[in-house]
Amino acid sequence: MQLPVSYTARVARSLGGPEWLVERRLGALDRFVASPAPLVDEDLWRYSRISELDLEQYVANETPACDVARVPAEVDAWPEAVALLGHLGERSGLAVVVDGVPVACELSPAAGAAGVVLASILGDSRGSEVLDRVTKLNSATGKEEHAPDAFDHLADALLRDALVLSVPARVHVDHPIVIVHVLGSSGAAGAAQAVSARTVIDVGEASEASVIELFVSGDGALVAVPIVDIDVGDAAVLSYNAIQQLGAGAWQLAHQRIRAGRDSTVRTFTASLGGEYARFRTESVLAGQGGSAELLAAYLGDATQMHDFRTLQEHAAPRTKSNLVFKGAVGGTARSVYSGLIRMRHGAKGADAFQTNRNLVLSDGAHADSVPNLDIEENDVRCSHASAVGQIDREQRFYLESRGVPPAVAERLILLGFFEDLWVRVATPGVRDHLAVAIAARLDRVTGGG
């Protein structure tokens, strides 16, 4: 594939960090260059707008990490971050990550005393191993779905640092830990940047934690490649939320890799609101028996936006359960793609998997594609999927209108109602409140009401 302009081995070296990181970038650079460009007739890219992406229009960010002293101002400058932190109330930790570089990490005294770590990976000599652990574990059980795509290599080629959150065994983290990613802000003004951001979340055996990653950027052109690797230990409980509120000029190619151990519970919620093109590739592997995953997402597109979701629910152990519910709406000439696979591996006896994708198309120019898939190697499983693309129900709108509610307001109420069953499942109350407000504000644009 073509690289961001001016990105060469020299740049890969100059981005700094320990030797292992430089080596990692150089290796990734070679693999990226050797990767074929994604094609829309591949399953992983079907219906996407990937062919519109011209990486030569972007530059890698070579400036040093921003000044730590700027950080409080950095967060206060982003209304989305201020709103989220306000809705959350108490928290057990906060990290601010600028273009993939953790610039501030703080933990509550209780979390610190319990041995929770929230830090840059640069001090860890086994950093590369830490970064690869989930990929390696998943590859051991998985198939080609786990193969890295070109953008995984690009993310590594651009990698300057990573944030690690590690919760030791048998620790209950009382409040959410918040990670604010500010993307495309530290480079030369006016230049379209290519940046990666990497997070590793490791929840030890029988521990419990709630994590929120917020992604924000200015409105300028940006390619962001955020990757999160999540390892949920045996009997651990993790609630993970990704809130994408990037600026209007951003292209995002995100990858979420999750591995859940025996009797563990992982609940993820992804909200995709911003960006020009926002992709989430989500792989969840239930690797230990009795593990369960609930995967939720809400997305809302207007103008020329595209939201693009590729999901894998892999059941690799007996009596594992997964339930995926992705719901979205598109107006203007926006588009959305949902493509999901449930894979029941041989031996996943008694496993249960559900997959639901529902889309509302709000205008004639908008479009949603929904492609559910099953791949079942085991007889003794239950699996089902439901997928729907429809418009606002005119009878519902008529009913609300008959009460004197103006049409645009009625549509807004129906749309908010459409997401309501997600809100009641979102495990972190502050996230629910934040999203309800953010989506309502965005709906005013989509429906022209308010």
């Binding site: 009878e395 609300l400 209108e401 069953d421």
Partner: protein, 278 residues
Amino acid sequence: MNASILKISGLHARVDSQEILRGIDLEVRSGEIHAVMGPNGSGKSTLAHVLMGRPGYEVTSGSVTLDGVELLSLAPFARAQAGLFLTFQYPIEVPGVPLAAALTESLIAAGRIEEAEPGPLAARLAEEAAELGISPEILARPMNVDLSGGEAKRNETLQLAIIRPRIAILDELDSGLDVDALGQVSRRIERATREGDPPLGVIAITHYRRLLAELPAQRVHVLSEGRIAASGGPELAAELERTGYVAYREEAAGAAGAALDDPDPSERGLGETFPGGL
């Protein structure tokens, strides 16, 4: 406020190119209760839907004015804001939308900002819910989701009480109600026809005379084959109870040709309640 008058003149309407209403004339003033009765397929529910502007119903000619304002050229919400209200025979479920949210928006659109405030609205809802026998748990549910027939009709009446329209069309308000619920919703509406400002005018579309025992109509109209075949006082309803609709149906059918089937599903399945008439 001034008294209101709803004037329906020469109203023709069709559904899927089939003419259902064939010239309806009716006037309803503030404080009046008019019953519109008729057999299945006579066009009763179509009349209700056409007046409110439900999608799928096409008016081919005629006029409906409320205090001189032509309603037929208005969108449904504007008809509602002009003072028209419809209690649905089968209220539509709107998942995820709480009753209070819809009423708030309705009141805001009407400029009734103080009433739309959460505190005052909740107090009014609680007061009306108590009178109508609606449990607080039902108020918290999404609009009409998983309500029994009786709960749904009480809920429709509750909305009427909060919105305070000038003219209300009750589409089979009595169907699915037990005696207690029928009494509660009827008493509430009857009170609105006396105490409203202006008092509520009512078009009560019904199959049964039992509604009229609770909600006494001054005028009774028999709808048949899309026309009003007869009008009279309360004695007309009593006569219908004895003789059924057969006389009107044949009279109108003789004039109009083949009998009609109202395509509206809301009118299906009630025929067995009038074995003498049908």
